[in-house]
Amino acid sequence: MIDFGRSYFTWKSKPMQRDPYYKYPGGFVGREGAEHRVRIQFDAACTLTNDKTGLKQELFLLCPCRTEFTIVKDNLFQIPNGEFRPVFGREFNVPISSRPSSEPENLRRSKLSDRFADYSIEVRNIEGTKERTTPEQVIEATTADELMNGQTTYRDLQRGVTVTLEYPIKLINLQQKEKLFQVCMGPVPLPDLATWDGVCVDRMFLAELAFSEFDYIEFALRRDVEASDKEKGWLTAVRGRDRLELHDSNRPAPGAAPSRPNLKAYNEIISQKVSTVILSATAG
């Protein structure tokens, strides 16, 4: 049972180099050659297992922050502001989708070793866990204020891959008299199995989940939403430093300019037959 509140991904950046076009690449405001380390807590985890080879790919959804300039004393937040939230594994960075699952995107996973000078993953576990296999046991653990994780597993037989999600149960409803429970929380990193190639996937969805039984779950997937024209004026206005400021305004970077952050909403619902195990432990 992962101790999500005490587990971290830490990376060390490559020495900062002058971008040929942009003044603040990645939001970094510092001298050339500077190196940054960033530590982010885990939110949830997803393990992909190749059913044929047994090889596993662990992916960790990290906690979000807001896009920022680092490390500065004023105007810390980038305006317009977006969310920074990655899915990092032991080997790969897998991009998070901004579209519905039916729309393919030109997304590809990348190697973390290409991106960072170094990185480390610290997964801490909670000892003394118990499996809670009945609603009565789930109710008992909840009312005793025990720590609880869900482990939800499903298989894609055609593609030969098994998905296991692990997440801390941050919100749970009970109806004790009727012996009912319902978990509703998130987000979790949900793999787009249409992009599975036997090793990993190239796209993840950010999803909230809900279930009231051990063999069925529903996910609500997040996607981008366009703001109305009347909101775009203030929403896209730059304040403070401009993340996209050019060294030379007469010499823009080739290709389309990077987009500004979009709004997000959960809309698409996916249901799935699963096997969910609820683990609990005393807080200690």
């Binding site: 380390r37 490390i71 008299k177 529903e218 909403a265």
Partner: protein
Amino acid sequence: MKRKSRREFLQEAAAGVALGTVAGIPGCAPSKPTARKLLEASPMIDFDRSYFTWTSQPYVPHPHYVNDGGMTQGAGSVRDVRILYDAKCDITNHSTGQVEELFLLHPCLSEYTIPKRGFFMVPTSEFRVVFSRSHSIPIAKLPSSAVETAEPRPHKFASTRFTTRTHGRYTRLSSASEVIEATLAGKPLNARTTHRDDARGYTLSLEYPVRTINLNLEEGLFQIDTGPTPLPDMNGWDGTRLKRVFLAFVASSDFDFAEFILRREVEPSEADKKWLFQIRGKWRWELRDPKNPPPGHPRRPAWPVTYNETLRLNATNEFFCAEI
């Protein structure tokens, strides 16, 4: 490139801190964390192990709405809900000494409880609350300059339970190098941001877990960027209670200021409203009698949110690490 083990990676990083590789820069000198026993009244909260639980009154069907509150189990059913803490804010009234505690709880999507299928309400909306011990405090949907009509509502629960767990052993970090060292040692961190306004007679004290932190070892710098936190709108404070709270992320790179970015709603485009506001499954606002709707029916679906307005407060930041 040969990957280093975690131990090698962190040892090398920690050595950089201890050596103070850029001499003369404040906060970079080698130091040991000062183990200072803090006041018993304010130990370091263990947010990932703290819960608020309420037990509802027996459900009474709504006079107008079939799916009121998402309840599907019918009249008389009683629901317990347990939610993890996200962050906390204390407001101290200087005149009376009264402390109002605000707990920001973890969000979920609005749901029907407890069916076998069809859990999510679509159009979706976030369910997220800020509770004091006695009231639910509205979360702002608009910028700080706009007035909203929402009012705090007294709890109507049958019972409530705040299980606030704290770390048994923790250390206050009094320099940038101590913050860096604790981060690299993999210790859980909390920040406590205190802002005092003597003219208006209050002190705000926010406590929150530092989930994201940036470090520059060579220059002895750090920057937190984490949230959300419940930031009170003190314009509506009557000395006891607030009218609303902003949901805000907080960033800081020093011990004496905090920059907040406030959340607000944004109207979506007309094209996106078509799919975003489409009802699927049960409708939350389905009327028992379509000919007899209550005033204001139906409520506007929730709009997406963004973080835009920033606010800088002169504040004292204290950092704590748990010894685990």
